[in-house]
Subunit: 180 residues, 2 copies
Amino acid sequence: MDEKEQLDHVRERVIETIANNMNLYGVTDSIGRLYGMLYFQNHPMTLDEMKEELGMSKTSMSTSIRHLLELKMVEKVWKKGTRKDLYKAEEDWHQTFIDLFTIKWRSGISMNISAMSRAIAELEKIIESEDLGEEVRTAAKTDIEKMNAALQYYEWLNRLVDSFESGKIFDFIPKENNKE
Amino acid sequence: MDEKEQLDHVRERVIETIANNMNLYGVTDSIGRLYGMLYFQNHPMTLDEMKEELGMSKTSMSTSIRHLLELKMVEKVWKKGTRKDLYKAEEDWHQTFIDLFTIKWRSGISMNISAMSRAIAELEKIIESEDLGEEVRTAAKTDIEKMNAALQYYEWLNRLVDSFESGKIFDFIPKENNKE
DNA sequence: CAGTACGTTCAGTTTATTCTGTACGTACAT
DNA sequence: ATGTACGTACAGAATAAACTGAACGTACTG
C-alpha cells in the first residue's frame, strides 16, 4: 500500500474521532469534521476548497465556518492577491476550550442569575402579604431556599469561567504535567 | 390575583430558565423542564404524577427519567407500600455539574487519547520506511506534531476532570465566595 | 459601464430527533 | 392461577435540524 494513502487514512480516522468528540461541545459532526480537516491542513483554506475536500455544498461550508468563527475555533486570514476568504483552524486547543466555555456559558449563567434574583425578590414580596395561607408561605420559603442554592451554584460557575478566561486555571491545572 | 397562582407562575418561569440553560449541558428542553419541575417539588414523584404535571406521555417520562438517571441528575427513591417507582432531583448542583462532566467527558477524552496515540505510532512507523517521498515524510512529521499537541490538551482536560471528580477544584474555586 | 467571482439568503427537501399510543413482560395481589 | 398495576420496547407520527441549489447583492476587473 502507498504510504501517502496510509497517511491520509490515519488522518481521516483522527479527524473522525475529533469530530465525534466535538459533539460534547455542542457542535455537530459535520462542523466537527470541518474543523478537524482545517486543523490538519497546513495552510488556510477557501470555502471552495473545503467544499471540494468534504464533498458538501458551499452553503454548508459558509454557515459551518460562521459557526466555528463564533466559537473562535477558526479565524479568517488575509492574503492579498486573492478575493476569496481564507480560514484557518485555531491551533491552541486549551484556548479553544476556554473560548468555547466563555462564549457558550457566560450568557446562560448571567441570564439564570438574573432570573433567579428576580424570582426571589418576587417571592419575598409574596411572603409579606398579610392574608396568606400558611402552606403557601411555607412553599414560597422553600422555593426561595432552593433558588438561593441555585444562585450560589451559578455564582460558583461564573467564578470558574472567570478562572478559565483569565487563564488562572492553568495555575491550578498546568498545561504541562510535571508529575508523571 | 391569588398568591398561590403567583407562586406557581414564578416557579414556572424559573423552571423554564433552568430548562433553557440545560441545553448547554446537552439536554433537551423537555428533559430540562422535567428536572426543574422535580427540583421544586418537595417530594419524590412517580411517572404518572410527572406525566400529569407536564401533560406528556408516560413513555416520555420513562425515557427522560432514564436519561436524567444516567447523568445522575435524578435518583430513584424507595418507599415501601407503593409499587410505583419514585424519583427525586439531585439537589446539589455543584455535584450535578461534576457528575455531568465526569460522565460525558471522561469516555470521550480517553477515546481521543487512545486514537491519537495509535495514530502517532502508525505515523512513526510510516516515517521509518526507506522508500518514502520527502514531502510525505514532512507531512507525517507535522501531523505527528499536531497530534502531540492535541494529546497534551486531552491530558490537561483529563486532569481538569480529575480535579472535578475529586472535589479538589473547590480548593481552587470555593463554593462560597469570600471575596465580595 | 458591463462582466465576473465571490459569499450569503432563502425556500424547499432530506434526514434525524422527539414524542405518542399500543402492546408486551414482569411482579405483586387475590 | 387469574387479574391488575406498573414500567418499557417498539413502530409510526409530529417536529426540528441539517443540507442543498438557485437567486441575489456586493465588490472587484477590464
